[in-house]
């Protein structure tokens, strides 16, 4: 963790994400207005940013800043829950496939290959088209269910390396049953790459949610997510630009922060980096850290 904090990308990413998370948590406190209240349909119809409404109002006279603040809750919650679920699934499937090998591995990986060959957005649209209105929970589960394929591949590759290491052989020699080996020796040593993929995936999922909401799938009005706010303003980009610009900016900043953190994490956990650190350690031995 200390080494992570030394990376400026990680510091920036963590600070930005902390601010975003704080905004989501304290939404009712800091939002100046009720996000779905139509304040004054006659006078506050699509007004540009002003002192009273720093990010302007939308065609229904709702305060965009308040909607954006509350939208953070949904966007972030959907992203975090979806990514957590898909990472867990991906890590477990990858580790089991990699450690078990043989038929289990072959079947699981062929399924993953097939799923990976279809673009994710297309997959989501097909599913939503078949099921119709899915709601926030449904959307989250869908995003989770379509997000674990790549992670499971990464984790499986890592597992293939780890299972040949002597400490795993040693656990077998001690008489440890396979489940114990998987949980105590394999999983803790393969989650690193999964964690990196997860951080990078958060940004991706926020974008997907926004995209789907923009297409009218997922978050239903009057609930606000970043994507649905953009959808509200999509047809009026030329005159009501503040409707799309500010949520777009929020997405951009959050995705950027996630990716910065993910890059820093990846550099930190990259086995090649570890190896090169070992090399320099050999030529310039530091005391046993």
């Amino acid at each position: 963790m200390q080494r992570l904090l030394r990376d400026p990308r990680a510091r920036v990413g963590l600070v930005v994400l902390a601010v975003v998370a704080l905004v989501a948590l304290l939404a009712p406190v800091i939002a100046p207005y009720d996000p779905s209240a139509q304040l004054d349909i006659a006078r506050l119809h699509g007004r540009p940013p002003s002192l009273a409404h720093p990010l302007g109002t939308d065609p229904y006279s709702r305060d965009v800043l308040s909607r954006l603040i509350h939208g953070t809750r949904i966007s972030l919650a959907v992203a975090l829950v979806a990514v957590t679920l898909s990472m867990t699934l991906g890590v477990v499937v990858g580790a089991v496939a990699g450690y078990a090998g043989g038929l289990v591995d072959t079947v699981l990986m062929r399924v993953v290959d097939a799923a990976l060959s279809i673009p994710r957005l297309l997959l989501l649209i097909i599913v939503v088209a078949l099921w119709g209105d899915v709601g926030v929970v449904g959307l989250t589960l869908l995003l989770a269910g379509t997000g674990w394929f790549a992670v499971s591949r990464i984790v499986r590759a890592q597992t293939l390396v780890v299972r040949e290491l002597d400490y795993v052989t040693s656990a077998r020699a001690l008489g440890a049953p396979p489940a114990r080996i998987l949980v105590r020796h394999v999983l803790p040593n393969v989650v690193g790459p999964g964690l990196v993929a997860a951080t990078l995936a958060i940004g991706n999922v926020i974008l997907l949610e926004a995209g789907l909401s923009y297409l009218g799938i997922g978050i239903r009005p009057p609930a606000a997510s970043w994507g649905s706010i953009i959808q509200d303003g999509a047809e009026r980009v030329s005159d009501l630009w503040w409707l799309t610009f500010f949520p777009g900016l929020a997405i951009l900043i959050t995705v950027f922060a996630c990716n910065a953190l993910g890059d820093a994490l990846r550099d930190l956990l990259d086995p090649r980096q570890l190896a090169s650190r070992d090399l320099t350690a050999r030529s310039a031995p530091t005391p046993d850290r």
Partner: protein
């Protein structure tokens, strides 16, 4: 061609003592998969019919160069790699016939210490948790009793008990190797496979670990299968030595006999290649031609014959598989050109042999004479 052995009947221990571990015709072939359909097209014969015994309290060293099958042998005995065929008996129990549950129970008695002090410890577990794991698995101790046992084990291998909460990366190679030894000892085994436990260590640390292993053996009556490529360290720790080449044991003898009268020409070459710390004394050296052949396609007859320096080597060596036979009491070797041999000169001639067997022992293979005295001036350790 049948691979007959003259030893399968009697015990292969010194003086015929009852063995704790008995290995017969152990074989491990790794299939070579070809093409996209995974057709099996041949096999790497990593271990090819290995037989030996280890007596209680004894150290049997297995030496050989990389790829000779010594590590695979060690792991196949513990069934960390499933052997292709053969038999392994431990304390009279048929190890290869055990089910998964029985095998896990047996692992209390058979342990292993690894070569690489870096990959052999789980980086995400504390030293204490690593040593404690065996206690938990076999239900030997729990809670405070387990803590106390872990501390005791750490002390026994020369580490401070308060290190239990530290992680592997905080330790040097030698210290990690001690942790690996403590982990193996935690289940109170009778037999430990030491798979090159000191090869990755510096000279002074290597000596510390070798001494530790010897002390533990003396105190606990352990038996070791000590796998190594370094002939000089083996001489210090082993009672008997087996030399492996291309999946076969080519010689097996007590240390004194092995180093004073090596019979198999490969052993002779191996011994002569060890650099001696005697500057100014120019030693003759048997330089083997070429490299070790591929174990996927081993030479016919004696696997060593293409590189052999024995003056009597001939066509018979390429045709006849030499049996590992007892050439002198307790001294087994596989060479039809080193008398006595059950493969008679007549039989060799029938196989195309032109040179009758004639005992050969080049002086360059010897580091000490038959009575045990060092052959050349040896360095006397400092006061």
């Amino acid at each position: 061609m049948s691979r007959q052995t003259t030893i399968a009947a009697g015990a292969m221990t010194e003086g015929g003592a009852e063995p704790i571990l008995s290995v017969r015709d152990l074989t491990k072939h790794f299939p070579i998969k070809k093409g996209i359909f995974g057709r099996v097209g041949g096999a790497v014969r990593a271990v090819d019919g290995v037989s030996f015994d280890v007596a209680a309290g004894e150290t049997l060293a297995v030496v050989g160069e990389s790829g000779c099958g010594k590590s695979t042998t060690g792991r196949a005995i513990l069934r960390l790699i499933e052997p292709t065929s053969g038999s392994v008996r431990f304390n009279g129990q048929d190890v290869l016939a055990l089910g998964a549950g029985e095998l896990r129970a047996l692992r209390r008695q058979l342990q292993i210490v690894f070569q690489d002090p870096f990959s052999s410890l789980n980086p995400r577990m504390s030293i204490g948790a690593i040593v404690r794991e065996g206690l938990t698995i076999h239900g030997l101790a729990e809670g405070a009793a387990a803590d106390a046992r872990v501390k005791q084990l750490l002390e026994e291998v020369g580490l401070r008990p308060e290190y239990a909460s530290r992680y592997p990366h905080e330790f040097s190679g030698g210290q990690r190797q001690r942790v690996g030894i403590a982990r193996a000892l935690s289940v109170e085994p009778k037999f430990i496979v030491c798979d090159e436990p000191v090869s990755a260590l510096d000279v002074s640390v290597q000596a510390q670990v070798v001494n530790l292993l010897q002390d533990l053996q003396r105190d606990r009556g352990l038996s070791y299968l000590f796998i190594a490529h370094d002939l000089s360290i083996v001489e210090h720790i082993a009672d008997r030595v087996a030399v492996m080449y291309l999946g076969h044991i080519v010689e097996l003898a007590p240390v004194q006999a092995m180093y004073s009268r090596p019979i198999m020409p490969y052993t002779q070459a191996l011994l002569s290649a060890v650099p001696a710390p005697e500057p100014g004394v120019k030693r003759e050296r048997i330089l083997l031609a070429g490299d070790v052949p591929s174990p996927a396609n081993p030479p016919s007859g004696c696997v060593f014959h293409p590189r052999c320096q024995h003056p009597a080597r001939d066509a018979a060596c390429a045709a006849i598989v030499p049996p590992l036979e007892e050439k002198a009491p307790g001294h087994w070797a596989a060479c039809i050109k080193q008398p006595p041999s059950v493969v008679s000169w007549e039989a060799q001639r029938a196989a195309g042999g032109t040179n009758p067997p004639d005992f050969y022992l080049p002086v360059s293979a010897l580091h000490r004479s038959a009575d045990g005295a060092p052959r050349a001036h040896a360095f006397t350790p400092p006061r």
